[in-house]
């Protein structure tokens, strides 16, 4: 039981940035903007959050900075892909490199720690929140470990992430904005004909994307860890993208896909150095590759079919 809970706790922790990035990608891709740049935004916002938290000593200022940096990145992406009708994928790739290069470069120049930012603690970092009655219920069988051990005690971003799932589902399927968002990703011309601004809708989606991924980035550097380290996202932005495809661009399945990929990561830590009969030491590399292999298999059509929003990746050009 203890073992299971501890693996599940790790799963929830490592899934948090995945869920945030994945939902972020969902908004942007539903609006018709492909966002390969999630990885870069995670890195950039993690860096921004860590720098500002370390300098100001306030975790909240760090979080805001993380969101701010990610907004700037989205603005560039929007400019390239909405205004200049550029190639969204190229723009995303460029932003990924920009984040990786600039964060480490500026970090090394400012703090002289080889790209790491100074560690934060106290008010400058987000710690786990003890939910009400968590202490009292700790010894109750079954409920205790699940409530006090698994559900309570996470950083605020984790709760935001899991809350964002039903909220996104509601926004997407039950609100006017959600309807328009889905429409602009499938058939922007229809919205244009109805007198709505395709560009503005897409920018709105990008703003939501930035906020979510910014929270995810801040989680990495000032909640899960205490400082920024180079290339901190370590492919999580891409895993989130894989999860989004896996979930066929739907919010609740997206959460489960992220939890699955998070569980694989948790198992990877767990099985490090464990000897299995026949195989010997567990090849952790196989588990690292598993999310990608699963996604490839899905895309190959062995596990159902994934069809992206119809207009995704295409700049919208008004008829002249």
């Amino acid at each position: 039981m203890e073992d299971i809970i501890s693996i599940l706790v790790t799963t929830v922790r490592v899934s948090t940035p995945l869920i945030l990035a994945c939902l972020a990608g969902l908004y942007s891709e539903r609006s018709g903007i492909v966002d390969i740049g999630l990885e870069g935004k995670l890195i950039a916002s993690a860096f921004g959050a860590a720098v500002v938290a370390a300098v100001t000593g306030s975790a909240w200022a760090g979080l805001l900075a993380g969101i701010g940096v990610s907004l700037v990145f989205s603005a560039v992406h929007g400019l390239a892909s909405i205004n200049f009708k550029g190639n969204q994928i190229i723009s995303g790739v460029a932003l990924n490199f920009l984040a990786a290069g600039l964060s480490t470069f500026l970090g090394a120049a400012w703090f002289g720690r080889g790209g790491n930012t100074p560690p934060v603690s106290g008010d400058a970092r987000f710690y786990g929140i003890q939910l009400p009655f968590a202490a009292e219920l700790r010894d109750v069988p079954i409920v205790g470990p699940i409530y006090s051990g698994l559900i309570s005690g996470h950083a605020i971003m984790t709760y935001i992430a899991f809350l964002a799932v039903p909220v996104t589902a509601w926004v997407l399927w039950r609100t006017r904005f959600g309807l328009r968002l889905r429409a602009v990703g499938e058939n922007p011309k229809a919205l244009d004909t109805a007198g709505m601004s395709v560009s503005w809708l897409r920018y709105k989606a990008l703003i939501i994307t930035s906020v979510l991924v910014g929270i995810g980035g801040a989680y990495l550097s000032i909640a899960q860890a205490a400082s920024f380290t180079p290339n901190m996202a370590a492919g999580r932005g891409y895993i989130a993208l894989a999860a989004l495809i896996f979930a066929k661009w739907k919010p609740v399945p997206a959460m489960f896909a992220c939890l699955l990929f998070g569980f694989l990561e948790a198992m990877q830590y767990r099985l490090q150095g464990v000897d299995l009969p026949v195989i010997g030491p567990v090849p952790t590399q196989a588990m690292q590759a598993l999310p990608y292999i699963l996604t490839i298999l899905l895309l190959a059509g062995f596990v159902g079919r994934a069809i992206p929003p119809k207009a995704s990746g295409l700049p919208y050009v008004k008829e002249r």
């Binding site: 600039l102 120049a109 590759a289 895309l299 190959a300 992206p308």
Partner: protein, 369 residues
């Protein structure tokens, strides 16, 4: 919106790319200023580090070799309208092909082994790109997504193979046993003493030959014509009786094979063994190289040289200006991709307006006379 202004050809081919690259470097210069260093001085140190003396020049050639291969890989796919960002993984797995064939024919003179190594590295690299090609052609899943995934799978697979299987028992770092010195590709220093102690090796000439090969392939063969047609207009290509699916798979395989040639320079040449993470971002640099070079072999060659200079000069720079680390190069690379790839339209408009104005003015002058 107004109609497109028709610009002279040289503006599209030379002026706009040069302006975009200049813009990328100006922003890079501003970043250098932000950390309190002098960008002009930085460029001077870089140029000296890259060309000023034989040792530096050898390294410039060595980096350029890698970037020609990875740049051509992206360029070939680009002509077919495909964006292969999997060069990183394709080069990495190709190292396995190069290593295994070099082991298999160990002791064979390098001149005889070279064609075999080219074939083996090309086959493995090509296979790794063929999978995304197949997925795109037959399953309609975007090659960008799948090549990213394949990069990660390559990293995991190769790290497993190198650290668990290929690593000799008596070696502590993650690398394979060395290739037989007779089979290993020779350093250029054997013929050019100026380049002694540098990793530049004869794969540089293979890279130059690849530039000619790609030119021939894209502009002088039926296949090249077909993929350019598909790249411009897939529907037209299909109506013209071309099999888009076949073209996609073949193009990706050729693209991957070109990326795989990097294994010649590294695994079979400079290192003479398979090292963990030996590609070290060169596959991604290829993206910047291809965009900057407008996917033309001449452009690719020149931009590969530019990035070779940045890499080697950047090392030199890191000694003299400790505030400027290697990551500055990644930043420049990002800016180059952004301005020449994604935002190439940004400067087009002002240039169009400038041309329009100058034309109007010359028309006025003509009328007044």
């Amino acid at each position: 919106m107004s109609a497109r202004v028709s610009l002279p050809r040289w503006v599209d081919i030379v002026l706009l790319p040069v302006l975009n690259v200049t813009l990328a470097f100006i922003i890079g210069g501003i970043v250098v200023l932000v950390v309190g260093e002098n960008p002009i001085e930085a460029v001077r140190i870089m140029l000296y580090g890259a060309f000023g003396y034989g040792y530096g020049f050898g390294f410039t050639l060595y980096y350029t070799t890698n970037f020609i291969f990875t740049g051509l890989a992206v360029a070939v796919a680009f002509h077919a309208g495909l964006f292969n960002i999997g060069g990183e993984g394709q080069s990495y797995v190709a190292g396995l092909g190069a290593l295994l064939i070099a082991f298999a024919v160990g002791g064979l003179h390098w001149a005889l082994a070279l064609p075999l190594i080219i074939i083996a590295a090309g086959l493995v690299g090509g296979f790794w790109a063929f999978i995304p090609g197949w997925l795109q052609a037959r399953r309609g899943s975007h090659v960008v997504i799948t090549t990213i995934m394949m990069n990660f799978i390559a990293t995991s697979l190769m790290s497993y193979l190198i650290s668990r299987i290929l690593k000799p028992a008596n070696v502590s770092s993650d690398m394979s046993a060395p290739i037989d010195p007779v089979t290993r590709l020779p350093f250029l220093a054997e013929w050019f003493p100026l380049l002694r102690n540098t990793p530049a090796n004869i794969s540089f000439f293979v890279a130059i030959a690849s530039l000619f090969f790609v030119y021939w392939l894209i502009w002088r063969t039926k296949f090249g014509y077909a993929i350019r047609t598909m790249g411009h207009n897939p529907t037209a290509a299909r109506y013209a009786g071309m099999s888009n699916a076949r073209l996609i798979m073949l193009t990706m395989a050729i693209s991957g094979a070109l990326a795989g040639m990097m294994a010649l320079n590294e695994t079979a040449g400079a290192q003479g063994r398979l090292m963990l993470n030996y590609v070290a971002g060169a596959g991604f640099v290829g993206i910047a190289v291809a965009f900057m070079g407008k996917a033309h072999p001449i452009g690719v060659g020149l931009s590969a040289l530019l990035f070779g200079v940045l890499y080697q000069g950047g090392q030199e720079l890191a000694f003299s200006m400790p505030a400027i680390t290697r990551e500055m190069i990644v930043t420049i690379q990002a800016l180059v991709i952004l301005f020449t790839g994604a935002m190439s339209e940004m400067l087009r408009r002002p240039v169009e307006i400038a041309f329009l104005l100058s034309r109007l003015r010359s028309a006025d002058e003509g009328g007044g006379r």
